[in-house]
C-alpha cells in the first residue's frame, strides 16, 4: 500500500513537471522562434505600429463605410476577445426568433432591401467569427460604395480579391475575412470619413 501511495505521488508530480511545465514551455520556446507572428496571436498592427486587432478575431465595425461582422454574443456589447460565447439560444426559443427578425429588418433598412443571408443575422459559436459569407459581403457592397464614394465595381473587386474558397475544394466554407477586407478598403484610398 505504501508503495502505491509513493508511486501515485511521485508519478503525479513528475508528470506535472514534464507534461504540464516542460512540454508547454518547450512548445512556446520553439514556436516563438519558428512562428512568432502566429504564436503571438496573429496580431495586426496599424501605421504607427500599435496593435489594432487580430486577423483571427472579429472586432466591432458599425460605420457604413466598412464591412460589418456577424452579430456577436461575446460579452455584454459583443466582440469581447476575453469572453468568447455563443448565444446558446435554442432553435424554438421565442427570444431567438424575435432577435433574428429584428436584425433582418435592420439590415434591410441599412442595405437598401438587399437579400439577407443567414450568417448576417445569426451569432457565431465564438462571438468572434472573423469571417462573413461572400453573400453577406455582397449584401453590404452598395452601402459601402455609397458611403465611400467608390464605384460599386471597386468594392466588388475587393470582395473577390479577399474571398477564400473551400480548402482543396472540399473542406470548410467560402468566406471573407472582415478585418482584412476593411483594411483593403482603406488602402484603396477612397476613404470618405470625416
Amino acid at each position: 500500500m505504501l508503495q502505491v501511495i509513493r508511486a501515485s505521488l511521485v508519478s503525479t508530480l513528475f508528470f506535472t513537471a514534464l507534461l504540464g511545465v516542460a512540454y508547454p514551455l518547450a512548445v512556446t520556446g520553439i514556436a516563438g522562434i519558428a512562428f512568432p507572428a502566429q504564436a503571438g496571436g496573429s496580431l495586426v498592427h496599424g501605421k504607427d505600429g500599435q496593435v489594432i486587432g487580430s486577423s483571427l478575431l472579429a472586432q466591432g465595425f458599425a460605420k457604413p463605410e466598412y464591412f460589418h461582422p456577424r452579430p456577436s454574443a461575446a460579452g455584454a456589447n459583443g466582440y469581447d476577445a476575453s469572453g468568447s460565447s455563443g448565444s446558446n439560444l435554442g432553435p424554438t426559443n421565442p427570444a431567438l426568433i424575435e432577435r433574428i427578425g429584428g436584425a433582418a429588418k435592420d439590415l434591410r433598412a441599412e442595405n437598401g432591401g438587399a437579400a439577407v443571408p443567414g450568417d448576417a443575422v445569426t451569432t457565431s459559436g465564438s462571438g468572434l467569427d472573423p469571417d462573413i459569407s461572400p453573400e453577406n459581403a455582397r449584401m453590404q457592397a452598395a452601402r459601402i460604395a455609397k458611403a465611400r464614394g467608390m464605384a460599386p465595381a471597386a468594392v466588388e473587386q475587393i470582395i473577390a480579391a479577399n474571398a477564400e474558397g473551400r480548402w482543396l475544394g472540399v473542406f470548410g466554407q467560402p468566406r471573407l475575412n472582415v478585418l482584412r477586407a476593411n483594411l483593403a478598403l482603406d488602402a484603396a484610398g477612397a476613404v470618405a470619413h470625416p
Binding site: T16, S54, A74, N88, G125, D129, G172
Partner: protein
Amino acid sequence: MNLPGWAEIALTLAITVAVAWPLGLYLARVWNGESTWLDAVLKPVERLVYAGCGVKPDKGQTWLSYALSFLAFSAASFVVLYLILRFQDLLPLNPQGFAGMTPHLAFNTAVSFVTNTNWQSYVPETTVSTFSQMAGLTSHNFLSAAAGIALAAVMARAFAANRANTLGDFWVDLTRISLYILLPISLVLALAFVGLGMPQTLLGHVDATTVEGGKQAIALFPVASQEAIKQLGTNGGGIFNANSAHPFENPNAITNLIEIVIMNALSLACVVAFGRTVLARREARAIVAVMVILVAAGASVIYAAESQVAPALYAAHTTPGANMEGKEVRFGAPSTAVWAATTTGASDGGVNGMHDSFMPLGGGMAMFLIQLGEIIPGGVGSGLYGMLVMALIAVFVAGLMVGRTPEYLGKKVESREIKLAMLSVLILPLAILGFTSVAAVLPVALKGLANPGAHGLSEILYAYSSATGNNGSAFAGLTANTPWWNTTLGIAMLLGRFAYAIPVLAIAGSLAAKPKLAATTGTFPTDGPLFIGLLIGVILIMGGLQFFPALALGPIVEHFQALQMVPKF
C-alpha cells in the same frame, strides 16, 4: 446539403481510419513493451520514473492491485489539481490576476479533468490562470488519457492470456503511454498548430485599439500545446469558453480537419492495437466497422438536421441556408456536423459550434451518441473497453438464441462476466436518468436553464449524459457554476469513470484466468457482417430502450414544435 459537404464528411472519416491503422500498430508495440525508435531518448526517462516510483516493471499486477493503483493515482491527481485550482492566486504565472476557484468549482473541475471528461462549468479566459492551464489542466489531459489507454491494454492482455493471474503493471502502462505515444505526437501537433495560426504565448493578454477606435482586450494563452493533447486524448476542455469554435483554438479548415481526425484516431488505434495483441485482426476490423458505421450515420443525421430551415431564419425571410446560429462561417453545417458526431461519439467533448443552438434533431443526435455509452469510437481506451463490454453482451444474446455457452475471442463468457458487464452498463441510465429526473423538479437546478420548454429539459438531460459519459460537451446555455450543478455533475463524472471501469477490470481478471480455447465449427463467428449487425443492434437497443422516453420529451417533441412553427410564418 451539397456534394462538397457530403464529401467532406466522408473524407474526414476515411482519413481518420487511415491514420488510426499505423498508429494502432505502434500503440501495440508500446503497450506490449516492445522496442521503438524513441527508445534511445526515452528509455532513461522511463527507468527514472520506475526508480522514483519504486516499481519493478516486470513483476505484473493482479486485476485488483491494478485497479487499486488506478484509483490511487486518480486520487493523487485529483488532490494535486484541486489544490492548484483552489490556490492559483498564490501560484506563479497568473498574469491575469485571477482569484482561486471556489471549493465546489475546484471540485467539479478537478474531477472533470481527472476523469477525462473536461466538463467546464466556468468561462476559462476569465477564471483559469496560465499556470493552472498548463501545470493543472494540460498535464491531466495527458494523464487521464494515458490511464484510459492503460485499461484498454489490460483488456487486450486478458483476452490474449491463457490462465494468467497478472495483467501488466499500471505504472508501466501509464509511463510508456504518456512518454512514447502522447508526448511525442502532441509535440509535433502543437508545433504544426502554431504554424497554422494558433497562439502559444505566456503573455496573458494584449490590448488593441480597433480600426473604429474601440478597445479590445485579446486573451492569449499557450493554446497550441493544450489543443494538441485536448484532441489527441479525447479530453475536449477548451482554453476558451467557445472551445474549438474560437478562432484561436481552431483557425481554419485545415486545423479543423486535423482536430477531428486526431480526436478519433487514437480511440480507433486502441482497437487496432487490441487486434494485434490478441491476434484477432479480423475481429478488430469488425469492431472498427461498427464504430465507423455508427459515427457516419450520426454525422449524416446532424448534417441533414442542420441544413433544415431554422424557424427563426424562416420567420425573418433570409435567403435559404443552413442553421448558422452558433456556427462559424469557416465551418458551416458539414464541418460542424462531422465534428459534433465525432466529439459526442468519441467522448471528446470539444465543440466547434454550439450544440445548444442546433436544430432539435441535430442536438438530439449528439446527445444520443453520448448515451450509447461513448463507444463509437469512444474515449481513448475507454471506448475500446466499453465496446468490448457490448461485444460480450452481444455474444451472450447470440448464445441465448442458440442455447450454447457463448465465447468471445477464445474465452468462455459466463455468468460472472455478464453480471459485471451489466453492472457497468447500468451505471449510465442510473446516473443520467436519476439525476435528470431530480434536477427537472428542483428549483435550485432549474434556475440555471437558458431556454424554456422542451429545450430546457434537453439542457438538463444533455448535461448529465455528458458528465456520466465523461464527454464534457454541453448545451452550454446552462449556467452550471452553482453548488448544485457542480456537485451533482461531479458525482456523475466519478460514477461514469470509476463505477464503469472497476467492473471492467474485474472482467479482465476473470477472463485472463480462463483457458484460451481454440475456435470450433460451433463457435459463433465474431468477425463478419452478421456479428457487425448484431453488435450494432445490441448497442442501439440498449441505448434506445433506456433513453428514448427521455429523448421523446426533449429533442423529439421540440422537433415537432419546430415543424409546426415553420409553415406558420
